[in-house]
C-alpha cells in the first residue's frame, strides 16, 4: 500500500513480505565469516600454547571444538529466533519524495532529509539506490524492497542521472581500515618488545577513535547497530591497557620474549 497525501508528494513503504527472506539471507551470509573467525582464533591460540607448553596442549582440542560448535550453534539458533523482532522497524520505514525534497523516517532512527539541490550523486547498487550529498555522513539509502521501487527510481533519475558506485575505492578504504585496526590490535598483544607493542597500541587507539567518531557522525543508522559497533571498537581499544596491566601488575611476559 502506498500513501498519496498530495499530488506531488508521495510516500513509499517497504514490502512486509520481503523482510523475512532478506533477514535470513543476511544471517546465513555472515555464517562463513563467523566460522572463519572462530577457526583462526582457535588456531592462533593453539599455536601460541603449543609453543609455550609443548605437545600436551593438543589433548584439549576436541573438548574446545565441541564447546565452540555448541556455542556457535546456540548463537545461530538465538539469532534465527529473534529475526522477527526486526519486522516492526521494517514496517515503520517511510520514504517521502516531493519535487525538491527526499525524507526518510524509521521508528528507531532520526529522520534524514535531503534537498534536490544538495544531491551530488545517486548510485545504483544491487540492494537499491544511494542518494549522496556533499556531507558523506548524510546519505539516504533507498532499498529495492520498497513497494513501487521502479517508479521511485524513475523519479529520482529525473533529479540526477544514476551512476555506478565507486566500489573499488570504497572496498580499498574498508580493507585498509580493517587491516590497520586488526593488525595494530594483534601487534599490541603479540609483539615481544613492549615499546613496539605500545607503538602499535597508539596506532590502534587512533584508528579506533577515528572509527568511533565516524560512527557518531553518520546519520540514518540504527542506534543499536551504532552502539554495538562502538562497543566493539572500545573493546579492541582496551588491548594496550591490558598489555600494560599484564606486564606491570601481573609480570606476565609473552613466551617468545624470553
Amino acid at each position: 500500500m502506498t500513501d498519496t497525501p498530495r499530488e506531488d508528494i508521495r510516500t513509499y513503504r517497504l514490502d512486509p513480505g520481503a523482510f523475512l527472506p532478506l533477514a535470513k539471507r543476511r544471517l546465513y551470509k555472515r555464517l562463513p565469516w563467523l566460522v572463519l573467525a572462530i577457526g583462526v582464533g582457535v588456531l592462533v591460540q593453539y599455536a601460541v600454547l603449543s609453543r609455550s607448553q609443548g605437545e600436551g596442549t593438543m589433548s584439549t582440542l576436541p573438548l574446545l571444538v565441541a564447546i565452540v560448535v555448541l556455542a556457535a550453534g546456540f548463537g545461530v539458533f538465538r539469532a534465527h529466533s529473534k529475526l522477527k523482532q526486526g519486522l516492526p522497524i521494517w514496517e515503520s520505514y517511510r520514504l517521502t519524495i516531493s519535487e525538491n525534497v527526499l525524507r526518510r523516517v524509521v521508528s528507531n532512527q532520526a529522520a534524514v532529509e535531503v534537498l534536490r539541490s544538495e544531491v551530488t550523486a545517486i548510485t545504483n547498487i544491487p540492494e537499491g539506490l544511494r542518494v549522496l550529498t556533499p556531507d558523506r555522513h548524510r546519505v539516504i539509502f533507498v532499498p529495492a524492497q520498497l513497494i513501487d521501487f521502479t517508479e521511485l527510481r524513475e523519479r529520482l533519475s529525473s533529479w540526477r542521472a544514476l551512476e555506478a558506485p565507486k566500489l573499488a575505492r570504497a572496498r580499498a578504504l574498508s580493507v585498509a581500515w580493517s587491516t590497520l585496526l586488526l593488525g595494530s590490535w594483534l601487534a599490541t598483544g603479540l609483539l615481544a618488545d613492549l615499546t613496539w607493542a605500545m607503538l602499535a597500541g597508539a596506532v590502534l587507539l587512533l584508528v579506533g577513535a577515528l572509527g568511533i567518531r565516524e560512527m557518531l557522525k553518520v546519520q540514518g543508522y540504527d542506534n543499536k547497530v551504532k552502539a554495538s559497533t562502538i562497543r566493539g571498537l572500545a573493546f579492541l581499544m582496551l588491548a594496550p591497557f591490558a598489555r600494560l596491566a599484564l606486564h606491570f601488575l601481573f609480570h606476565v611476559e609473552l613466551p617468545w620474549s624470553r
Binding site: I9, P88, R94, T96, S98, V105, A111, R116, K226, R231
Partner: protein
C-alpha cells in the same frame, strides 16, 4: 526536463508539507544511543564476569 530551484520560502513550505506527510511512528520511542551503549556495556561486563567464573570453576574442578 529542466529544473529550476525553488525560492527559499517555497522550499520551506514544501519541506513542511513533506514532514506533515510522514506521521511519527506509533508506539514507544526507540532507545537512544546512550541507552543502548550503557545497557550493552553492562551486559558485556556481566558476560565477562560469568566467563571468568566458569573458567575459574573449570580450573578448580580439573585440578
Amino acid at each position: 526536463m529542466s529544473w529550476t530551484p525553488p525560492s527559499p520560502e517555497d522550499l520551506q513550505r514544501e519541506l513542511e508539507r513533506v514532514r506533515a506527510a510522514q506521521p511519527v511512528a506509533p508506539g514507544k520511542p526507540a532507545p537512544s544511543l546512550r541507552e543502548h551503549l550503557i545497557k550493552g556495556a553492562l551486559r558485556g561486563v556481566l558476560l565477562w564476569l560469568l566467563l571468568i567464573l566458569v573458567f575459574l570453576a573449570a580450573w578448580y574442578f580439573l585440578n
